[in-house]
Amino acid sequence: MIPDWTHSAPVILAAFLGSFVEFVEALTIVLAVAVTRNWRSALTGAGSGAATLAILVLLLGPSLGSVPITLLQVGLGILLLFFGTRWLRKAILRGAGIIGLHDEAAIFERQTEKLRSVPGAGRGIDSLAFLTSFKAVFIEGLEVVFIVVAVGAAGNLVAPASIGALAAGLTVAMIGVVVHRPLARVPENWLKLAVGVLLSAFGVFWIGEGLSYRWSGGDWAIVAMIGGFLATALLMIQILRKRTRQALAR
């Protein structure tokens, strides 16, 4: 019998890594708002963003149950494929040095500079700080919700996916409370590459399931595709790096 971990372990891992990256990005903006404007507005904005998202999930979540499973698998599979391959493509180009790496410290600097250039609102709720913080948490949170729903819903694994995302949120929040700085040392590109690999594999698998493709090896096809995407990505990074070195040497 195939252990359930074949499905739930990659789901937890994908949700944890994907959410971790999103939470790190949200933390950078909220911290920038907090240190340049005020903590109260930053935290109120972040809390309101999270609350709005929670309300949306509660309102729209139950409607997923009424969608036929094959339609849900194909629909979420397509979205996962677009989302995952977008991250994978970008991670390959960044890994090969073709586009610049995502730099949390630089983003923090840019954000604080921008926020400092606008006069503050004193001790009360600062609307700029509130809105910046709200938007960061809402947008990044929306991506977390998408990852959890997309990797979990099609296989009835929303609970393990939520556990992965929750663990990521708590980890980032705890690190944020302790260090009070953007998490610039997180190897974000490698995390994005890993998430891109996982989500792309899930996307292809769910599309196939929804269309009644017959996967050799059943659920183990996900693991095989994870290996295939990962090997392709690492190979492409090496080839593109070599091409770049040769171009620079000329």
Partner: protein, 68 residues
């Protein structure tokens, strides 16, 4: 209001699409996977062929990327 909707739409689309050629190629391949592969291949081959198609699109796209 319209600006806010446009901005929200851009943010939402940006989650899934960055390079339009790449997204279009994936979209076309998905359509092939839904409508053509079931008629052309045995069920056991559809998954691997669909997966290899996605890999090929990814490889072609990153190889075509401009040099730094």
């Amino acid at each position: 209001m319209m600006n806010a909707i446009r901005s929200a739409w851009r943010e939402l689309a940006g989650l899934f699409i960055e390079d339009w050629r790449f997204a279009l190629a994936i979209a076309v391949w998905v359509v092939v996977g839904i409508f053509a592969l079931p008629h052309l291949l045995a069920a056991v081959w559809r998954g691997p062929v669909f997966f290899l198609g996605v890999v090929a699109i990814l490889v072609e796209n990153v190889m075509r990327s401009p040099r730094p």
